[in-house]
């Protein structure tokens, strides 16, 4: 066979991947840098409102009367906090990170490099369009929209553009992936490139739900008074169902980029190897399969959806928890290899030998630890009837500040601690400050989220509420409120440090001593993954089939029986 390979089959005129040159990387890295700059700027504003909200809840400081000329109410600030942190920061960071990492992993230039530039411009125009009504208090509907509340049309149009831009980032990856596949039919797709592509496809499927809500319901109603046609009306239950089709896979769009770093980059940052590369692929395929047919678990408390459908989505929700359980083992095993290579011994003592001195490593490992609690809380939220004890209480923000606010965000910080030096050519300002940033975030989130979980569970304290002004505020809440303020103080220090580190790394011309590049962990077992873990059709078709089965009948019914009784209304 080897002889055959040598003589016969070398010749066929298969296209060869063009080499990835510094020039190609230059454009991709520019685009990645712009994305990250926008994301970090958005987060700096979004996070600031988080601090204001926490202080308002605990009656420490009600800053909103002083913000009047700019920000009218707590809820306008809350809209900015949710939209800027959960949508703008995450989406821009992820698009930048993928633009940077995909091309390096595949080791092939983008087929249409300009597509990434177009994507960024579309996303930025979308962001600016949506920002105007948000800042003018014309879109104080939170990022969950919740019609029949109706915002200015520009808010919905801007968010639509933002999503379309992120789709284009995906298309650029699909085209390039396809070209690479044609050029390399026998090779396994490199893990990072494959996992990033799966994440983008997942995002594509997820966003169809919210696209339906915006294009067929929210925009027509918001445009009606502007263009002078009669408003078609809204069906709140149908709207919510379309939103949560998107709203849960959204969290995997936040989480999977962090998983990519944990699986395939972080081990290399502590002298480890990917413990089980094929299993990591399986994990990503399972996420593609199970991430969307789960949305009704956000609607357990909704009327009008039969219990059986909520129950079915509960089972899928536990299905999508399973790959995270696999991740817990495999990632820790990969890191343990590194710690032992660094002289770690014993059952647990090796943990001390992990590369804690590297802020990028420390931030991501701490993010993982917080995600253990976030994951356990998530299973509780998913648990159908148990959810009644916590639905819409402060338990929920307590939960997602551990997941998107820590597992994703703190990991993204960690990634930026090597990526920004790579993009700017400047030394990180400084590793010590960055380590302090990571640890203060860790303890800050620990206190904050513990307090909010407890408040929700014990006292049913509602979320999305200006608690400091509520007549039902109870002095029983005080111990947890004090704990939350301790957390918020640490988080304020941490966030300030993060923005300072970003700013000074960018501005101070302290040239790197030695070049930095994307860490890529090698698999422990060099044998390539089985073909079925590198094959799209079973997984993609399976995902589409599960979406159709889990949403098809109920959506058909909701659309058939839709009553557009509600008119868009402004209540802020």
């Amino acid at each position: 066979m080897s002889v055959q390979t040598f003589t016969g089959s070398v010749a066929p005129a298969r296209p060869v991947s063009p080499p990835l040159t510094a020039q190609h990387l230059h454009l991709a890295d520019r685009v990645a840098g712009w994305n990250i700059a926008v994301g970090v700027l958005a987060l700096s504003i979004g996070a600031l409102f988080g601090v204001f909200q926490g202080l308002e809840h605990a009656k420490v400081l009600d800053i909103y009367p002083w913000l009047q000329p700019v920000i009218k109410t707590y809820y306008q600030g809350l809209t900015l906090h949710g939209a800027l942190n959960a949508v703008v920061w995450t989406t821009f960071f992820i698009c930048g990170f993928f633009t940077f990492a995909f091309v390096r992993s595949l080791n092939r230039p983008y087929l249409y490099p300009k597509l990434n530039v177009i994507a960024f411009v579309v996303m930025l125009v979308g962001l600016l369009t949506a920002a105007v009504p948000m800042l003018m208090n014309n879109a104080t509907v939170l990022y969950t929209f919740y019609p029949p509340m109706l915002a200015d049309w520009a808010f919905y149009a801007g968010l639509t553009l933002l999503v379309i831009g992120s789709w284009i980032v995906g298309y650029s990856m699909y085209f390039t992936y396809y070209a690479w596949r044609k050029e390399n039919p026998d090779r396994r797709a490199p893990f990072i490139a494959l996992a990033a592509t799966i994440t983008m496809v997942l995002w594509q499927i997820a966003t169809l739900g919210v696209a339906g809500e915006i294009l067929f319901q929210l925009l027509p109603n918001a445009l009606a008074p502007v263009l002078g046609f009669p408003a078609p009306g809204l069906d709140p239950l149908l709207n919510r169902t379309l939103f949560w089709w998107f709203g849960h896979p959204l969290v995997y769009f936040w989480l999977l980029p962090a998983y990519i770093s944990w699986y395939a980059m972080l081990p290399a940052q502590t002298h480890g190897k990917m413990f089980s590369e094929p299993l990591a692929r399986l994990v990503f395929w399972l996420f593609l399969l199970f991430s969307t047919p789960v949305g009704f678990h956000h609607q357990y408390a909704d009327p009008g959806i039969p219990e059986i459908w909520k129950y079915i989505h509960m089972i899928f929700t536990f299905g999508v928890g399973f790959p995270s359980l696999l991740t817990a083992f495999t990632v820790v095993a990969s890191l343990e290899i590194g710690a032992r290579a660094r002289g770690g011994k014993g059952y647990l003592a090796w943990i001390g030998r992990l590369n804690w001195g590297d802020p990028s490593y420390a931030a991501q490992n701490l993010a993982m630890i917080l995600f253990i609690f976030g994951g356990i809380g998530g299973m509780i939220n998913a648990s159908y009837n148990v959810n009644l004890a916590v639905h819409n209480t402060t338990w929920v923000p307590g939960h997602f500040h551990l997941t998107v606010g820590s597992a994703s965000t703190l990991t993204f910080f960690g990634i930026l601690y090597w990526m920004v030096p790579r993009l700017t050519g400047h030394k990180l300002f400084t590793p010590l400050l960055a380590r302090i940033q990571a640890w203060t975030w860790f303890f800050g989130m620990l206190f904050f989220s513990n307090a909010y979980h407890t408040l929700g569970l014990l006292f049913s304290v509602p979320r999305r509420t200006a608690l400091g002004s509520a007549p039902y505020y109870d002095s029983q809440w005080n111990p947890q409120m004090i704990e939350s303020v301790l957390g918020i103080s640490l988080l304020t220090v941490s966030a300030t440090l993060f923005f300072a580190i970003m700013l000074f790394t960018l501005l101070l011309p302290r040239k790197l001593d030695k070049p930095v590049d994307m860490p890529v962990a090698q698999p422990l077992d060099p044998k390539p993954a089985p073909q079925w873990l590198d094959t799209w059709w079973p997984w993609l078709n399976g995902a589409i089939a599960l979406v159709l089965l889990s949403y098809g009948p109920m959506l058909y019914q909701l659309i058939r029986d839709a009553e557009f009784w509600s008119r868009g209304i402004r209540v802020w």
Binding site: Q299, P303, E307, Y311, N387, R464, Y472, L533, W536
Partner: protein
């Protein structure tokens, strides 16, 4: 994706047919395999526990009750036109409740200890939510839909029901989403109910 069976690793070495066959099965390390089984077992146990709780203890979530046009809420024959508590049988009650910007109708309820109360809640304008503190009654109130859950109140006391879904607030106004709540008083006698809330 490719029809060719020759296995080229990224490094470019060719594998023997035997290795190729092995490569098609996912190799799982021993402890990894044990953990996978534990994870699957845990998932199954969780789902089972939830199912048992739902079926045997009747701890369930809201389902399909009825639909009602927000415009029809004031029609005289509509139970939501006169929201409030009705006694169906000794110890058994129903409550028809309207959530609207920014209060609950009614915003005060009194029931005796041991009362079993079925709540029917709808919204007049935007989406609201209701959770009766310390109970499993936790529902969204949507315009056009009726949400239903039942609770039995065995302990005397004052139970707040708070709107837990953002429903608006105009800068400077005395009321808004965060002032929207009501109180359910569970007491042996009306005088005790009075004393409890004072």
């Amino acid at each position: 994706m490719s029809e060719q069976r020759s296995e080229l690793s990224p490094a470019g070495e060719t594998h023997s047919p035997q290795e190729t066959e092995q490569a098609e099965t996912l190799h799982v390390e021993k402890w990894e395999g044990i953990w996978i089984r534990i994870a699957l077992g845990m998932t199954a146990v969780f789902i089972l526990a939830i199912t048992v709780a739902a079926l045997s203890f009747g701890i369930s979530v809201p389902g399909v009750t009825a639909r009602i046009s927000p415009a029809a809420l004031n029609d005289p024959e509509n139970p939501f036109a006169t929201p409030g508590l009705r006694e169906l049988a000794p110890g058994k009650y129903e409550v028809y409740m309207v959530a609207q910007t920014w209060n609950f109708l009614p915003d005060r309820l009194e029931v005796p200890v041991g009362a079993e109360v079925t709540f029917y809640v709808t919204a007049r304008d935007v989406v609201h939510g209701i959770k009766i503190a310390g109970t499993n009654v936790n529902m969204m109130a949507l315009p056009g839909q009726v949400s239903t859950l039942k609770a039995t109140f065995t302990k005397p006391g004052v139970y707040n029901y708070i709107c837990h879904e953002y429903c608006g607030y105009v800068a400077g106004a005395p009321i808004g989403h965060h002032t929207m709540y009501g109180q359910l008083v569970v007491a042996d006698a009306p005088e005790t109910a009075q004393a409890l809330t004072e």
